[in-house]
């Protein structure tokens, strides 16, 4: 929608927020402060801002989860269609505003798509006769008609997101709020979800999208709100923010272009080979399918060199995480080899390999094991045979300092925010200076300021010879920080090129809709 829509007068606000201040129980600082806002029927609004600025809290306030399910101090009023959210129960509010969260997997209740879309309608006691057409309508509106007969666990990340969107819009609540709906999605799927939102907006839905990275949504939106430290700092049109992106820079939600990749690109060619992958093929065993499924990785061959930062990209489900697990010897290949410094990685136990290769998993909670932040950073001294020398302790302090964790050193790591936990996992891996760093989408849910902070440290490690393989969906991150691009599609290595060339190649592939065609071929093959 064009920005001119924002300026056209829309008289009656659908949502009105007056003097909203909310403080979570146990916190002394309000998560949102003194917010006054009106959202109108038919608006497509993007709400941007750095991690922890209060965006998700505001979304929970709008849908009544705050104060109904999260204890804390709630001041001010929110009305939806002139009804006070505090006076209504969440289940009643669900008919007015829907909140779709980041991770579709955690929101799916049932095991097949039809049941999932019917779930809300059944709760509101619609008869099967009215549910059926509503399912059809919602799936069509969400561009998910082709998924109707599928089991939810067989869907890709983007497909799951579409099904979740369909299940909420089936309720036909007037407001749809999406909290980072594309954070885990590849660019192609992000475009698909965006098309879905555009379609819904064209049909009259009021949409509020919460995102760290607002650029992809600017062309569709009619209004941009920016938040910082619990307050709304900017309320403008997409055209205004495109013309003057300074506020985005200030809030750390915009990535500055960099010339870094070009310099590293030249340098890395001269460096020595650290990791060599030859003919790597792997298929996950599937206990319920006696016939051989397609390989997750198929005949991959490439080498990584010291000092390189390589972006590993590819659509959801293309095999990126599996490849990283293979490089850490956490999975055994069906065919092919992986050599680290000319030695087969399977010739040594993983616990020994862990001294040379550091692995960062997608969810920081999966790899935090100690009781305090300091213990976590020093975990390698306990399990990797490093002595707790003064030099190591000094490095631990330096890492905590540079990641902003020193003040939390005696606290439980589980009390940290997601961004802090992510920094902690990287700090704890860097302590023993592994030769290779494998990072599996470490920037989900992180704003660009956090990304820059982490990448600055990783870049300095690379400058000292560490090889970094970074799985990401973010082309901006790849272009800014990486020297080379490996692009996987359906388990095969489609592109291995310097990052700029690789991304240009990728753009052409997307523009020519090669992936659409390949994707539909895959679906046909599976069916």
């Amino acid at each position: 929608m064009s920005s001119s829509n924002a300026s056209s007068p829309i008289p009656v606000p659908l949502i009105r927020i007056s003097n909203l201040t909310y403080t979570y129980e146990g916190s002394d600082k309000p998560a949102v402060r003194n917010i006054n806002l009106a959202l109108h029927q038919g608006e497509f609004t993007i709400l941007g801002g750095p991690s922890g600025c209060g965006k998700s809290t505001l979304a929970r306030c709008l849908t009544g989860f705050i104060p109904h399910e999260y204890p804390g101090t709630f001041q001010g009023t929110i009305t939806i269609r002139d009804q006070d959210t505090q006076a209504l129960e969440i289940r009643e509010l669900a008919q007015s505003a829907s909140l779709i969260q980041q991770d579709p997997d955690s929101q799916l209740v049932t095991l097949n798509v039809t049941d999932e879309v019917a779930f809300g309608l059944e709760n509101f006691q619609h008869s099967p006769a009215t549910i059926e057409p509503r399912i059809q309508w919602a799936l069509r509106a969400a561009n998910a008609e082709n998924l109707r007969s599928r089991n939810t666990h067989t869907l890709s990340g983007g497909e799951k997101q579409k099904v979740i969107i369909a299940s909420f819009i089936a309720l036909q609540s007037p407001i749809l709020i999406l909290d980072e709906p594309t954070a885990r999605l590849d660019p192609h799927t992000t475009t698909e979800v965006l098309k879905t939102l555009q379609k819904l907006h064209n049909q009259g839905a009021t949409i509020l999208v919460i995102e760290h990275r607002i650029q992809p949504f600017l062309s569709s939106a009619s209004r941009v709100l920016l938040m910082n430290e619990g307050t709304i700092t900017h309320d403008c049109s997409p055209t205004q923010i495109s013309a003057n992106p300074a506020p985005l820079n200030d809030l750390g939600v915009y990535l500055q272009p960099s010339t870094y990749s070009e310099t590293i690109q030249t340098k890395s060619k001269l460096e020595q080979e650290t990791l060599r992958v030859q003919g790597l093929t792997f298929t996950y065993p599937r206990i319920e399918a006696p016939i051989s499924p397609r390989p997750t990785l198929e005949n991959l061959s490439f080498s990584l060199h010291s000092g390189e930062i390589i972006a590993l990209m590819g659509p959801n489900g293309s095999g990126k995480s599996t490849l990283l697990l293979q490089l850490m010897a956490l999975l055994t290949p069906d065919a092919g080899t992986v050599h680290l410094n000319q030695q087969n990685i399977h010739d040594q136990p993983v616990s020994q390999l862990a001294r040379q290769i550091g692995f960062i998993f997608q969810n920081p909670l999966h790899q935090i094991f100690a009781h305090t932040v300091k213990e976590e950073v020093l975990l390698a001294t306990k399990h990797l045979g490093l002595s707790e020398s003064s030099e190591i302790k000094l490095r631990a302090d330096q890492l905590m300092q540079s990641f902003g964790l020193l003040k939390y050193q005696d606290q439980s790591p589980y009390a940290l925010s997601l961004g802090e936990q992510r920094r902690l996992t990287i700090a704890s891996i860097l302590l023993h200076k592994p030769q290779v760093l494998l990072l599996d989408e470490p920037f989900i849910g992180q704003d660009y300021r956090n990304v820059q902070r982490l990448m600055d440290v990783i870049r300095s490690e690379a400058a000292q010879g560490t090889t970094v393989l970074l799985a990401t969906h973010d082309a901006a991150v790849a272009e800014t920080y990486c020297s080379r691009l490996l692009f996987l599609f359906d388990g095969r290595l489609l592109i291995d090129a310097p990052v700029k060339q690789g991304l240009e190649h990728l753009t052409i592939l997307y523009q020519t809709r090669v992936f659409n065609e390949l994707g539909s071929l895959e679906v046909e093959a599976e069916e």
């Binding site: 929101q107 779930f119 319920e288 094991f369």
Partner: protein, 274 residues
């Protein structure tokens, strides 16, 4: 993508089409028979019936025995205890022969021990297979709907749906946490007992916090779609009882009744009375 080995398998089979309550009743009856009756013949019959069930459901026996793999250690351990400590029956040999005059022999292996070990293992296998067949052939949403027809509130039915929905997720997550432990050099594989304790210690907290996050998210997603809006809800598909369901129900109740009656009044009671 790694796939979990738990849960419902969608097929268009005769077993899948049966009313979930029919299958649940048969499952309960199998458990009652298995727990109550110590009979190799009945255990073998139930085993055969279950194998037919898997074939009828279009689920491979490869899958069926895959369910057993995880519990095999436990089943073998229980069978071993029976083998070593059942005192009755003819002694075939001793596991530890006399080592010195007056010292030994130990652990007599008796015909009773072998029979008990075999029978108990078989019965456990039957219970696992019966549960696996029920889970693999029953869509939890249909089961939740069917439970409301016997006046069980849908909230309880959905507890089961959620359990079956979340178990594969937690299974996957537990695999990831274990991979993360190995990647951090935590030697969870070293030492049977120490390794086990280490694995528990280093798995519990990551899994707990991760699960709390998922549950929080799921709660918002369910409440946000009106779960609990009213004491009752509708169901798009409500499983009905067909003549086949009635036939299976009546036949299985009669068969169970016959076996139990036979056990109580023909075998056990006269033996007890003397």
């Amino acid at each position: 993508m790694r796939t979990s080995s738990f849960g419902y398998l969608q097929r268009k089979s005769f077993v899948h089409r049966l009313n979930p309550l029919t299958k649940f009743t048969v499952l309960i009856l199998i458990v009652i028979l298995t727990v109550t009756l110590v009979s190799d013949i009945i255990a073998l019959c139930i085993f055969g019936f279950l194998l037919l069930g898997f074939i009828g459901a279009g689920i491979s026996l490869h899958y069926a025995f895959g369910r057993l793999r995880r519990l095999l250690t436990l089943i073998l351990l229980i069978a071993l205890v029976q083998l070593l400590f059942t005192p009755y029956g003819a002694i075939l040999f001793h596991l530890i022969p006399p080592l010195a005059p007056g010292f030994g022999p130990f652990f007599p292996i008796t015909t009773g021990g072998i029979s008990n070990a075999f029978n108990l293992a078989f019965r456990l296998i039957n219970i696992v297979l019966a549960s696996a067949l029920f889970v693999a052939s029953t869509d939890p949403s249909r089961f939740a709907a069917a439970l409301t027809s016997i006046r069980i509130p849908y909230r309880y039915g959905y507890t089961l749906v959620l359990a079956l929905r979340l178990v594969p997720l937690f299974d996957e997550e537990s695999n990831t946490v274990q991979s993360a432990q190995r990647a951090r050099g935590i030697p969870v594989d070293q030492g049977v007992i120490r390794g086990f304790l280490r694995r528990i210690r280093y798995t519990f907290m990551p899994m707990l916090f991760s699960a709390l996050g998922r549950v929080d998210s799921l709660t918002l997603a369910m409440d946000g779609r009106g779960f609990g809006y009213a004491p009752t809800r509708t169901f798009l598909v409500f499983p009905k009882f067909t003549p086949t369901d009635w036939f299976i129900l009546i036949a299985s109740v009669l068969l169970t009744g016959f076996f139990l009656w036979n056990f109580l009044f023909v075998t056990a009671l006269p033996h007890i009375i003397g």
